[in-house]
Symmetry: C2
Subunit: 544 residues, 2 copies
């Protein structure tokens, strides 16, 4: 296509945004004049206090616990239709505040919700374990009838003619997908901004980013515009926004949940597969999602999903286990986590020790090697996939962790990367097994949410993608500018490098005061049940 024939990307963007916004009911669209100014103050409560929601709708959307909401739906205390409408309203307000939405499916969702209500009325039975639960989906997940642009301007108009398997299983379980959410261009970055849909803001502090790549989910679920969202994670993209937005986020091992039918960038990159996982406001929501998806037998519809049904006994055993041996990983040996993470780890260690567990130091296996392998895997195509995707209309290329500007590898060289990966994974497995820990507790990131348009450091999460271990981010704390002052001297073990010092220089306690701090519970591979069980133990020790 010559440049002359290419569509004007800015025109496409304007049209796409206008089409989306036209689907926001006028009565739910708060005029800009009535919105609070964009500043460092939290807007999480604004939708509940702005007067648009009825008291019942406020009550519905303030139920953080998905299980509580599901119980009320099953008992017909609420109809699916009214729960959906409450969330539609709140999502519309959220959208004007923090810009999380890419695609709107309100009409479809309303129809599905009515069907669920009719079904329950007629049969006395819920459709499935998620009966009536509105859910938001990261833009990648196809919903029949709308685009899944993954924020590439050139993908606008490629309407899905079928649901992704995840979408279909959610609907089968009774969930009601009603919006899709924002992500960074290429999906290979840990902030959420792109040319097509713009930047998503952090509802706790709109001067800060939401992390990424599932940052639309992070923002929307945190502001209670959705009770549960589905993101994806190839280097931390569920856990980082969960951590930055004060949510729970689960990265399962590869293919435990069905990715089939989701649009992705760099498709065919199998060295480190992207996985999907839920973000929600209580830990039990992650468990409920996991059980519901597995109950749908995803292996019948996704050729990559192994047949591993939910194991209640493994979950129960993990949750009940006394005297756990917990590996505390306080550093990735490359960048020291900012002071609020150090405090969070200290709090966690004290609480878990008090609860009778054995908290021991855990040093990750050669994380530098892991980082190099990840970089080589993600960059192997020399950015061809990304460049092809943006070439359709020459949209500008933003920041990303891909091979753009790097030489393309050959297939043989890619095989050598795979080989290094397997050697690394073997050594790391031996290291983990020899440590004899039940799980590892570590920071979700180096930094809390930071100013928009920064760089990203993803080793604390990416390491577990490379090893394919199950990891859950828990919102254990938040920055307290008084308790977490900037370091006045180097950490006790000194700076690892100029880069370490440079990263830590970015810490601005006053700017990020109150920003959420996440820690990860990391269990082994395909140990979703154990990770969820152990996370309960950690959560209750710290918060209970």
């Amino acid at each position: 296509m010559t440049t002359a024939q290419k569509p004007d990307w800015k025109a496409v963007v304007a049209r796409k945004r206008a089409e989306r916004d036209a689907l926001i009911p006028a009565e739910y669209d708060i005029p800009a004049s009535k919105l609070p100014p964009v500043d460092g103050k939290s807007v999480v409560s604004f939708p509940a206090t702005c007067g648009l929601l009825t008291p019942a709708e406020v009550a519905i959307t303030e139920i953080d616990d998905v299980d509580v909401l599901l119980a009320k739906l099953a008992k017909r205390e609420y109809t699916a239709a009214e729960v959906l409408e409450a969330y539609i309203k709140r999502a519309c307000i959220a959208h004007r505040l923090v810009n999380p939405i890419t695609e709107i499916h309100f009409d479809d969702a309303r129809r599905w919700a009515r069907e669920l209500d009719d079904e329950l009325q007629a049969t006395g039975k819920t459709r499935g374990p998620l009966h009536g639960l509105p859910v938001s989906l990261k833009d990648q997940f196809r919903i029949k009838g709308s685009d899944a642009t993954i924020a590439y301007v050139s993908y606008v108009g490629r309407q899905a003619d079928h649901d992704a398997v995840c979408t279909a299983l959610l609907k089968e379980a009774g969930a009601v997908p009603f919006v899709k959410t924002n992500l960074p261009q290429t999906i290979m970055f840990a902030e959420t901004r792109n040319e097509l849909f713009g930047t998503t803001l952090n509802p706790h502090n709109r001067l800060l980013h939401t992390g990424g790549s599932s940052g639309g989910e992070g923002a929307l679920v945190a502001i209670k515009g959705s009770p549960l969202g589905v993101g994806t994670d190839v280097g931390g993209s569920v856990r980082i926004p969960a951590g930055m937005c004060g949510l729970f986020g689960l990265r399962p091992s590869s293919h435990r949940f069905p990715y089939e039918g989701a649009v992705n960038s760099m498709e065919g990159q199998e060295t480190i597969p992207s996985v999907l996982g839920p973000l929600t406001r209580t830990l039990s929501g992650l468990t409920t999602f996991t059980k519901a998806i597995l109950a749908g037998r995803p292996w019948l519809y996704d050729p990559l999903v192994p047949e591993m049904p939910w194991s209640q006994s493994r979950y129960d055993a993990a949750k009940a286990k006394k005297g756990l041996k917990i590996g505390l990983m306080s550093t990735d040996l490359h960048v020291h986590p900012f002071p609020p993470y150090e405090r969070a780890l200290q709090v966690a260690r004290d609480a878990l020790t008090k609860a009778g567990h054995d908290v021991v130091p855990f040093v990750p296996y050669e994380p530098g090697q892991g980082l190099a392998i990840m970089g080589d895997a993600f960059c192997a195509d020399g950015g061809r996939d990304v460049l092809e995707a943006i070439s359709g209309c020459d949209e500008p290329l933003g920041p990303q962790v891909t091979g753009v500007g790097k030489p393309e590898k050959s297939a043989y060289e890619l095989w050598q990367i795979n080989k290094r990966k397997t050697v690394y994974r073997k050594r790391a497995l031996d290291h983990w097994r020899d440590a004899g820990v039940d799980f590892v507790l570590c920071p979700t990131s180096v930094y809390p949410a930071m100013k928009h348009d920064d760089e990203c450091w993803i080793l604390y999460t990416g390491l577990w993608n490379l090893l394919d271990y199950t990891a859950i981010s828990l919102p254990v704390s938040s920055v307290d500018a008084k308790l977490d002052p900037k370091r006045s001297s180097p950490p006790h073990d000194g700076w690892y490098s100029d880069d370490d010092r440079r990263w830590n220089d970015k810490y601005d306690p006053d700017l990020v005061d109150g920003a959420p701090i996440g820690l990860q519970v990391v269990a082994g591979r395909y140990r979703e049940e154990e990770a969820l069980g152990f996370a309960e133990t950690v959560w209750h020790a710290i918060r209970g």
Copy 2:
């Protein structure tokens, strides 16, 4: 390395073979003059009748059922030492007849067997589920202290300093690895010949090949020089030699069994992973191996093995299931199986129908597409891996299914192959699910064992590697020159192509009279338990 500096490959070969043969005890080494001439007659019984084995040793090695042998070992009816010695003797005779052995570990094995006997004597307990079972391993599996050349001359002398995980788990289960076995150069071919160790012959008819790539195992287990062998399979390499040699062979789904620590060609090729699987003389042996390996918790030692313990209930349910719906796949739509396969399928259909099952036609999903994807995946490196491996001493390159002579793909192009694979697997899964079959029954190959130095056609097995389905080859029949004459006219649906006709022209009933015929039971992905259970049903219907 300049040519001047490279070792003379023929000298390396001569030295390596001499070193190996020096490990054959002189008293077990039958002089060439006392060996039968190489002709079309079976030599399976020769070791039992040549006078070298004692009657007790004949009795031991004639026990085909691994479970029966294990029971006698556990009851101390036989010691591990005497069972091993019987198999060592028979393997030595076998070696002079059909050339299956690459590496000899008799001394280590004798020591391990004595330890097992002492342990059972002292504690009254067997070490594990394979207590005292001699096992042979395809050359890929490292045993500490010997080479794992995979038949590359340039790999001679790279002594392993550790056991492969499979080796270690077998020993932990009480098995006694005592020899390693032959495979083709590159491992990417379905016959078993190479410059380093020569050609392995089929004990049923030494004018014929054994199939491959695990042809050393096929020959050694068939001639009862080993009760159970471990092969590997990336396109049929366990099932083809099992089929050609009249054995049972299991290809599990990828990474169900631990490949870690095995040497391989084309390492890092992950598009279609090679897997390991057992070959043995009774079906129960496959089940016993599977249970024993999984009982060793391979996921603790191999980072790629998912934590999927043996499920007795799934096995029992599959075995007991009545009224199965069985898909009979009589063709790959490219090459018609030779007449003895048609008869074997007919026999199986009649027997299964009589046993109350519903046998329906099954047409595979677009096998031509599958073949193209396999070819592209295996050839992606343009043969660089293979060329590098032989460059060490310029050994001649034999036939192989690799990229030698083809252009090397780029990493981006390899991603596109991966993408096509996933699309194909999704469509094939939908196709399979919609067919609603419990399992598929199909030929293991187009041809029985054929003359040495031919070409190979692997679509009947390779299709299941691409889809990663569990498949078991059963020795259901053998060629009967009278019952299976050469076709006098085209098949009822006509030749698919000149290639189809060309392949079928190779069929020579007189030459291959008596050669084994295998059929595969194919269940879905990670359905080893179901495949083993269904295989029992098929076996009993046909043979019971």
